[in-house]
Amino acid sequence: MAILIELLNSQGRVTERHKFSQPQISLGRGYNNDIILLDPHSCAEHAILTLNEQQQWQLTDMDSVNGVHNQRGQRVSQQPITQSGQEFTLGKQRLRILFSDHPVAATQPLHATERLFQLLSSPWLLLGAILLVALSLGYEFWLSGIGEDSQWHKQLLLIPFILLMFALWPILLAVWARFTGREPRLRPQLALTFSLLVVWACWDIVLALLNFNHNNSILTQGLSYLLPTVMLLAFFWLSFALMSIQRRWLHIGLTLLLSGIYWLYPWTQQTDRHYSPQYQYQLLPQAWLMRQPATTERLLEQSDSLFVETAAEAGQARVKKAAKQASVE
């Protein structure tokens, strides 16, 4: 039976995989070895793996300086390999010994999103997405620039830097992946980020239309909470899926944590709504109005609830104050 030796990095990821059918395999830093180790803490002839008469493999320490340690950290001089998958440390080099009949994990089906990513990360589509984002930034600068002192032409020069800032997240993930021995997948991550930005910009347009025409409908209000949340959840979920994070709880946790900031931040901000009210102020040119305006009577009727609600709140405050005063007395 053939034997396999997997070299592992400090995180336990496989960096090299060797298969042998000979009865003796030598490991060490020397160039005459079957497996040449790079770890400076291993000796030139560090250990030897031999198949004995009973057809059993045995790992033997060749009197090395730093020794051979088993999974429990004990130094061993001669260790029979009774089962597939045993791990040892030679100096600082981790390795795993497997028999060729070692079971393999079930085949992972190709995810539908993988195909989407393949499409999105095609250079032309990615470039298109980046261009659209750049255009929307340019549009924002153009919109706010007004009068003779306007600097919006100059502000266009900032766009590449803003794009670079958007790219920081995919770059960060790629670096992290490289660091942990995963595939960086920078281009799919970039595609994901810029696709999200494009979708978000489109949503902004839809939201403006909805707020302008139907700001009091439950559908608009529901969507304005739901859609950004869904978009962010999907974005972070897919980001980490691309990172191929195996642990499900970590995947869910990171997604919820990062999406949560969107709602958490405004929630922590102090509001002084007793002084300056918050209201819907969306305006668009006449051509975008797609409904019959309400009548003044209807507005006044609906304003009744404002009086009732605030009066109830004031009433509660009075009761609370009276109770507090009574307790003081």
């Binding site: 153009w142 025409n213 102020y281 209807r298 404002l306």
Partner: protein
């Protein structure tokens, strides 16, 4: 040279006469003047000071704003009359009139010397004397000139040209006979002082009972005063037709009441700002003081006409929209005084023109039935032109807020 001599003569002739009267006024009535102190219980220090004067052997008049803290937080403060060195007497509140900023107090110390109230107002230009304790510097008498009723004021005030300073609040202004023509209440700086007329003092004395009411009763009275006052202020505005004036293509009210003053401003058309604007704002200079954190009884309106014909419609709209993105109350009110604003916003047809209308309301926590209302409207832009209208009403009932909003929406429109 001759001029100097002449001036000297005038001074020599004028000064003894004025000084004489001032001196006699001061000497005759010094005992009837006191300093009112609001003492904070925990620190036993003054938290507010003002002046007060005897109008009978045990009743004193001062300003409501001097003693407001005592009414707002009864447990935390006490009222003291400072009569002479280290002689403090507790005072009781008998009645208040928040609309005219007056308070009637009772002192345990009987005072034989009192101020008597004048029958009427002096003629314009007559000399008057304001008494009080400015900046805690000791009792003073300040000569001034009576200049009639303050124009354009809903709350009646006398205009006295003379130095009325903080701390003199609640002190009397007297005519040359030493009779009270009013109570010092405010200054606009530069020798312009305001005095509550004696008629309001009389009314307070007539209406007051002889017993000391508890604070809750006083607050109930204050609520009634506020309710009556907002009715009096708004019903003429609601019942009469408003004189309208054009602002761009918008129609805005002009001088809807003598006490509402309007101002206007416009951008210079030769400046290339992209959007030409013309604004008008109307408001009152007085309001009702309820506490350090709460003022009310005020009406304010603002109008803006915008024309950006050279701009792209979306660009114009962006800037137009930002003009209505923020708005605030006009009167002072803290978190403890009012609830948060609650708003309703919709696209409404005003005279057939689609308009974004925002209507916000906050309720008074201490005064049920009273609200502050905020209204903001912007027509949906047509050919890069827009018209914004806005008003705030402080301390009004639901009916009046709605009635005013209805009238405003009917009158303040885009003339297409």
């Amino acid at each position: 040279m001759w001029y100097r001599v002449f001036c000297g003569l005038v001074l020599v002739l004028a000064q003894p006469l004025s000084a004489d009267t001032a001196q006699s006024v001061f000497n005759n009535y010094q005992d009837a003047l006191i300093q009112v102190q609001v003492i904070e219980n925990q620190t036993q220090r003054k938290s507010a000071i003002g002046s007060g004067f005897y109008v009978s052997d045990d009743l004193l008049i001062t300003n409501y704003h001097v003693i407001a803290e005592k009414i707002q937080s009864e447990q935390q403060y006490q009222l003291m009359a400072n009569v002479g060195a280290d002689n403090k007497q507790p005072l009781d509140i008998i009645a208040v009139d928040v609309i005219n900023d007056l308070a009637l107090l009772r002192s345990p110390v009987q005072q034989s010397r009192q101020f008597s109230l004048a029958e009427g107002l002096p003629a314009q230009g007559e000399q008057v004397f304001s008494l009080g304790n400015p900046h805690d510097l000791g009792m003073v008498v300040v000569p001034g000139t009576f200049n009639g009723m303050k124009q354009q004021s809903f709350y009646p005030r006398l205009h006295v040209t003379g130095s009325i300073n903080p701390g003199m609040s609640g002190g009397p202004s007297v005519n040359s006979d030493g009779k009270v023509i009013g109570v010092n209440v405010a200054t606009a700086g530069n020798q312009i002082g305001f005095v509550v007329p004696v008629a309001q003092v009389n009314a307070l004395l007539v209406a007051a009972s002889n017993t000391v009411p508890d604070i809750a009763t006083l607050k109930q009275k204050i609520l009634q005063q506020l309710l009556t006052n907002q009715q009096q202020m708004l019903s003429p505005l609601l019942n009469e037709d408003w004189q309208m004036q054009a602002l761009g293509k918008g129609q805005v009210p002009e001088d809807i009441a003598p006490f509402v003053q309007c101002w206007g401003r416009a951008t210079e058309p030769e400046q290339d700002n992209g959007i030409d604007t013309a604004t008008a704002s109307c408001g009152q200079s007085e309001q009702i003081y309820l506490s350090a954190g709460l003022t009310t009884g005020k009406l304010e309106m603002q109008f803006e006409w915008l024309d950006g014909k050279d701009l792209h419609p979306l660009k114009f709209n962006h800037h137009y929209q930002s003009r209505i993105s923020y708005s605030g109350a006009d009167n002072r009110a803290g978190k403890h005084d009012v609830t948060d604003f609650n708003c309703h916003s919709d696209i409404v047809a005003l005279a057939g023109v689609a308009t974004r209308v925002i209507f916000c309301v906050r309720a008074y926590k201490d005064y049920p039935e009273l609200f502050d209302a905020l209204y903001l409207a912007a027509t949906v832009a047509q050919e890069q032109q827009g018209f914004i209208s806005h008003f705030t009403l402080a301390g009004v009932t639901r009916e009046n807020a709605k009635a005013f909003a209805r009238k405003f929406m009917e009158a303040v429109i885009w003339q297409s």
